[in-house]
């Protein structure tokens, strides 16, 4: 990270979903709550956290799949949070999404060439029919598929191949930034490495920036330059990948890191696993102050009164904890 120019800037992003209970009383699910961070050009930013922590929602609000409740998302310095329809279209081209489930993310009624070609059509990237076919073939080869696959339907492919089709669709519009939403978690372990290698290869060739959402800390350590840890809609720690694994500062991150399976049973026995009490609280009714205090072994009075800010503890190590560095 010598040359840190910001590509995506997220400020106080909130994504609330309205829910109604049986009596008709309104409530909000605070899926993403006041999230602020930057994504630098060319990096891979990992986003980890347990189920329901808002990782996917964050990725989706950034790309305007959902309309954010408040806050701003800037790409190349332009705030796209309020753009609609035609105005948003050129920015759609800059940001793409790779979905978690390669079985649900491809239209079963469309051939591979139509799935990839749709991206070209929408943004007018293919001049003629033959140009379109050439570009599709080129994209398929690029992601490691056979050009003969173009006329087949998604159900004729394996999970890994389907995910490659998803990647081809995403890079078809020549984006700058791609949100990879757990791109390998639905795949066989044997295929994961291949897909991750393909993603890394694409990044090198096309100068892509990734937001890599995952709950697999091993994969994140391998692929990401920086990692953000999410808990209940908040980013609790954001730091360079190696530093996170060596020196986690937030108690939640500490607990999370001890949960990585250890292949050596002898080391595993010696290891001090931090087991968190209870469940992740409901995002409808989150705890006051620090969201993690209900499960935090170090919680004090201040934690229930004041929301800790995400602050720099030096060297770009951001933590939101009142006792960062002291525990």
């Amino acid at each position: 990270m010598e040359n840190k120019s910001t590509l995506v800037e997220i400020r106080n992003l909130k994504q609330y979903f309205t829910i109604k209970n049986s009596v008709g009383k309104k409530g909000y699910v605070k899926a993403v709550d006041n999230v602020t961070f930057d994504i630098y050009k060319g990096e891979t930013l990992g986003l980890v956290g347990e189920s329901g922590s808002g990782k996917t929602t964050l990725g989706r609000s950034m790309l305007r799949i959902y309309n954010p409740t408040s806050g701003t998302v800037k790409i190349d310095g332009i705030d796209i949070t309020k753009f609609q329809g035609k105005k948003l279209l050129p920015y759609r081209k800059k940001m793409q999404y790779i979905f978690q489930d390669p079985y649900a993310s491809l239209d079963p009624r469309m051939t591979v060439s139509d799935i990839v070609g749709e991206a070209l059509d929408i943004h007018g990237l293919a001049g003629s029919k033959s140009d379109r076919a050439d570009k599709i073939r080129e994209l398929l080869t690029l992601v490691g598929l056979n050009t003969e696959h173009a006329s087949r339907y998604p159900h004729e492919f394996s999970g890994g191949q389907r995910q490659r089709i998803g990647i081809a669709r995403a890079i078809a519009v020549q984006p700058d930034f791609i949100v990879c939403d757990e791109p390998v978690s639905a795949l066989d372990v044997s295929i994961r490495a291949q897909i991750i290698n393909t993603l890394e290869e694409m990044q090198d060739r096309l100068n892509l920036t990734y937001l890599f959402i995952s709950h697999d800390l091993g994969v994140v350590r391998h692929t990401c330059d920086r990692v953000g840890v999410m808990y209940l809609g908040h980013i609790v720690e954001l730091v360079e990948s190696e530093e996170l694994y060596k020196n986690p500062l937030h108690p939640y991150t500490k607990a999370l890191l001890t949960a990585i399976p250890e292949p050596n049973p002898d080391t595993a026995k010696k290891r001090n696993r931090i087991i968190l009490k209870g469940e992740i609280p409901s995002p409808v009714n989150p705890p006051s102050g620090c969201k993690f205090r209900t499960r935090c072994p170090y919680a004090k009075d201040i934690c229930s009164q004041k929301v800790p800010e995400l602050t720099d503890c030096g060297n770009g190590h951001y933590v939101s904890c009142h006792f960062a560095g002291k525990i």
């Binding site: 989706r60 790309l63 799949i65 948003l88 279209l89 759609r92 081209k93 940001m95 793409q96 999404y97 979905f99 978690q100 489930d101 649900a104 993310s105 491809l106 239209d107 079963p108 009624r109 469309m110 051939t111 749709e118 991206a119 929408i122 943004h123 003969e148 173009a150 006329s151 087949r152 339907y153 159900h155 998803g166 669709r169 519009v173």
Partner: protein, 331 residues
């Protein structure tokens, strides 16, 4: 004897890496076929559906060509040949006025099929678009649109059909007489026009509900989100992703609507509100035959059998078509 230990037999040149051409021949490749070509192949493999399709085509051909090549015209009264039994001269016999029943049944099938198909297409177009918009936009749009459907649904259909027919008869009649009406309206007659109008007004609600339900389930699918991320317009999401993915349901409902429309038309003709004499539909033929059912049962058997065969074939064909159009059924 060549044993495995006999290393001399295993020459080195047997173990050269394969060239690209050799690899290409080893690769098993299915020729790429289009979606509809594929569906057609699968439909042909289904014997029942193919049989039903053949029957439908035969009936359609008979309904179109039959009356033209028949030696008798459907309104031609042959004096002295009333109430004849089926014979070589009159395959289905003749009716009480001495008209050839075979020709009249073919004309009746023509009218009934036309009513069924045209009504089903109208119902489908209206229902699909209405249901898709309602399901896709959701929220208050959906709420209002579905309440309208509920209202239309709660109306006693047959009663409205009869009322509308009576009310519409006069304006349509004067429109035709004014001379501005296109020729096809003229030949259809008031009865048929009001049947179409009524079906277009009232019968689309089933289709709208089914399509809406499908769209509600489909619009949360990730491939729809993917299209959104790519920047696809609502219109192209609805027509390129959502509707093609409920085509199976749409076809089943449409094929069920064809016999339903034929039934409604028959019923209306039966109570004298459908096609007017001397024009015949399968319904009006059955009604006329009912008067002499004890003496001349064959007069009822032929049109009734025609109705049954048409409806059965459409049901079986629709079923086969649903399987054929679903790529996931591919073996």
């Amino acid at each position: 004897m060549n044993t495995i230990n006999d290393t001399k037999v295993l020459e080195k040149n047997l173990f050269l890496p394969a060239t690209d051409e050799e690899k290409a021949t080893a690769e098993i490749m299915r020729p790429s076929v289009s979606y509809w070509r594929d569906a057609w192949n699968r439909l042909r493999a289904n014997k029942v559906a193919t049989g039903a399709l053949v029957v439908i085509i035969l009936i359609i051909l008979a309904a179109i060509i039959g009356p033209i090549i028949s030696p008798y015209s459907y309104e031609q009264i042959i004096e002295g040949q009333e109430n004849l039994k089926p014979s070589m001269q009159h395959i289905f016999g003749t009716d009480s006025l001495g008209r050839d029943l075979f020709t009249r049944t073919m004309i009746g099938a023509r009218i009934s099929l036309a009513v069924g198909v045209v009504a089903a297409i109208m119902i489908s177009i209206i229902g699909i678009i209405y249901g898709a918009i309602s399901g896709f936009f959701g929220g208050w749009v959906d709420n209002i649109m579905m309440r309208i459907v509920d209202i239309v649904y709660s109306v006693p259909t047959i009663l409205i059909v009869i009322l509308l027919q009576v009310v519409l008869k006069k304006p349509i009649d004067s429109y035709i007489k004014s001379g501005h009406a296109p020729a096809f309206l003229n030949s259809m007659g008031v009865g048929l026009i009001s049947i179409f109008l009524v079906m277009a007004l009232l019968y689309w609600v089933d289709m709208a509900r089914i399509v809406r339900g499908q769209i509600l389930a489909l619009k949360e699918q990730e491939y729809v989100l993917a299209a959104k991320v790519l920047g696809a317009s609502n219109r192209s999401i609805i027509f390129k992703h959502l509707i093609p993915n409920c085509i199976g349901q749409i076809i089943v409902v449409t094929t069920l609507k064809i016999p339903e429309a034929i039934f409604t038309e028959s019923f209306l003709s039966f109570i004298g509100l459908g096609v007017s004499s001397p024009m015949a539909s399968l319904g009006s033929l059955s009604q006329t035959a009912l008067k002499g059912i004890y003496s001349f049962p064959y007069m009822l058997i032929f049109p009734a059998a025609a109705i049954s065969v048409i409806i059965l074939s459409f049901n079986l064909f629709g079923d086969g078509l649903r399987d054929a159009l679903d790529p996931r059924m591919k073996k």
